[in-house]
């Protein structure tokens, strides 16, 4: 059992990473990775939403009528996302404005619904919570890596603090969404190189 929990927790972070292996949540990972701060808040929001939604759906799993299960799941996910959005509006207003529509769009993030359908509906609450948290963390980790390079090379700063000397000319291409896709591709490449069994013949 412990072995299973460990696998539940670690698999989504590397071997079954939702972005690089399942290729889900690409849209938001391109949009919110211009600055590290935004990416961190987005990562945290998604971790909370996936974790809590999976937990709640798992608690309800035996009572949910099968015919309307997608709708019930959506209600739970939407509620979590709106709660996160409301809390951000109250305590981190400028970041909420910066992330604009993407917090609301967590509702449509396939990672959340995908994990609920594939895992939370058929597993006990604790493993479901861990699975949700781990998938959110796997998503967040890629977001933070991409944002790290984009802010460093695109603005010469990290979390708003200047790390590269003033003489560094910011690379504007890195700020634009295509570069996020290229960076994402590089991460996928590195991961496939390390993990040979992910390579497709």
């Amino acid at each position: 059992m412990n072995e299973d929990l460990k696998k539940t927790l670690l698999n989504p972070i590397f071997k079954g990473n939702p972005i690089t292996v399942l290729v889900l949540g690409i849209c938001s990972s391109l949009a919110v990775t211009v600055q590290l701060k935004g990416a961190l808040v987005m990562a945290l929001s998604v971790i909370i939403v996936t974790g809590l939604s999976s937990l709640v759906v798992s608690l309800l799993r035996n009572s949910i009528p099968n015919r309307v299960r997608i709708i019930v799941q959506l209600v739970v996910v939407a509620m979590m996302v709106i709660l996160v959005d409301q809390v951000l509006k109250a305590y981190a207003y400028s970041i909420d404005k910066q992330l604009s529509v993407y917090i609301g769009l967590i509702i449509t993030n396939c990672i959340v619904m995908g994990r609920i359908e594939a895992f939370a509906l058929g597993n006990k609450p604790i493993p479901s919570l861990l699975d949700g948290l781990a998938n959110g963390a796997g998503y967040g980790m890629i977001l933070v890596i991409v944002a790290f390079f984009r802010e460093l090379l695109g603005s010469g700063t990290l979390l708003g603090f200047r790390v590269l000397p003033e003489s560094y000319v910011p690379n504007n291409l890195v700020i634009l969404p295509p570069m996020a896709l290229i960076l994402l591709g590089c991460i996928v490449w590195v991961q496939r190189a390390i993990q040979k069994d992910l390579q497709e013949k």
Partner: protein, 283 residues
Amino acid sequence: MNTNSNVYTIVYTTIIVVVAAAILAIAAMALKPKQDANIKAETISQMLAAAGFSSKEDLAKLGNDQILKMYSDNVKTAFLIDAKGDKIGELETEVSNIELQDNLKQENKNIAAGDPQLPVYVFKKDGAEINVIPIYGAGLWGPIWGYIAFNASCTEIVGAYFDHESETPGLGAKIKDEAWFREQFKGETVNFSKPDDSFDIVKGGAPKDDKSAVDAITGATMTCNGLDAALDTWFKAYMPFLQKKAGAAQVETEDCCGGDCGSECEGEGKDCNHEHNHNHQEG
């Protein structure tokens, strides 16, 4: 229990939805005061950015209290005007109780109905007055709004700031994100001779000799059209006020400086400025 029966399904979904709604309602009520304070500080910082006191990025680093204080320290007076441009009320500017006329959506309806209560925020910067007015309209996906700062005689725009609720990031959202877009407004004027179409945002580039037009943003045609319409509507609503200000400045210039010294008088002649304010209050 048969979880697939119709009755069960209907009762179950009803309960889930009601519970979710209750949780959200409680959260919204509990967080509202804090959110309102944030929105107020945000509105004020947009005005300060338009008036050129600080960049929006720097203002974002300040706390709400500091922004309110900065407003209170720099604002001279804030008042409401009616459709004829006459003053009909004051807005409190004390830091503990700052009043704003920030329900722009409502005022937008009132403008259409012909009975608006429009705010004018008068700031003091380097000895000169800056008049800041809001604009509001419909973008592509949701509302867009902004603040336009005029010089003392309202004959020249000295700054602008725009914001939006849900324009497309990277396209329509550029009205807020791109500094060059709002920088263009500096030095432009409102075309008093065309009250229905007093400002243009031109696709393909504004003519160089047109002082009431700026370039539109590529890929953001709908947002720019919306902003153009918003500027026209609100400038029209403010037109009587703007013209009065411009007219008063004209008369003052001629009266106290003999009409020869032109615009120099405005900045240098302190008496002139003083008289001008005085006159405005009477008018």
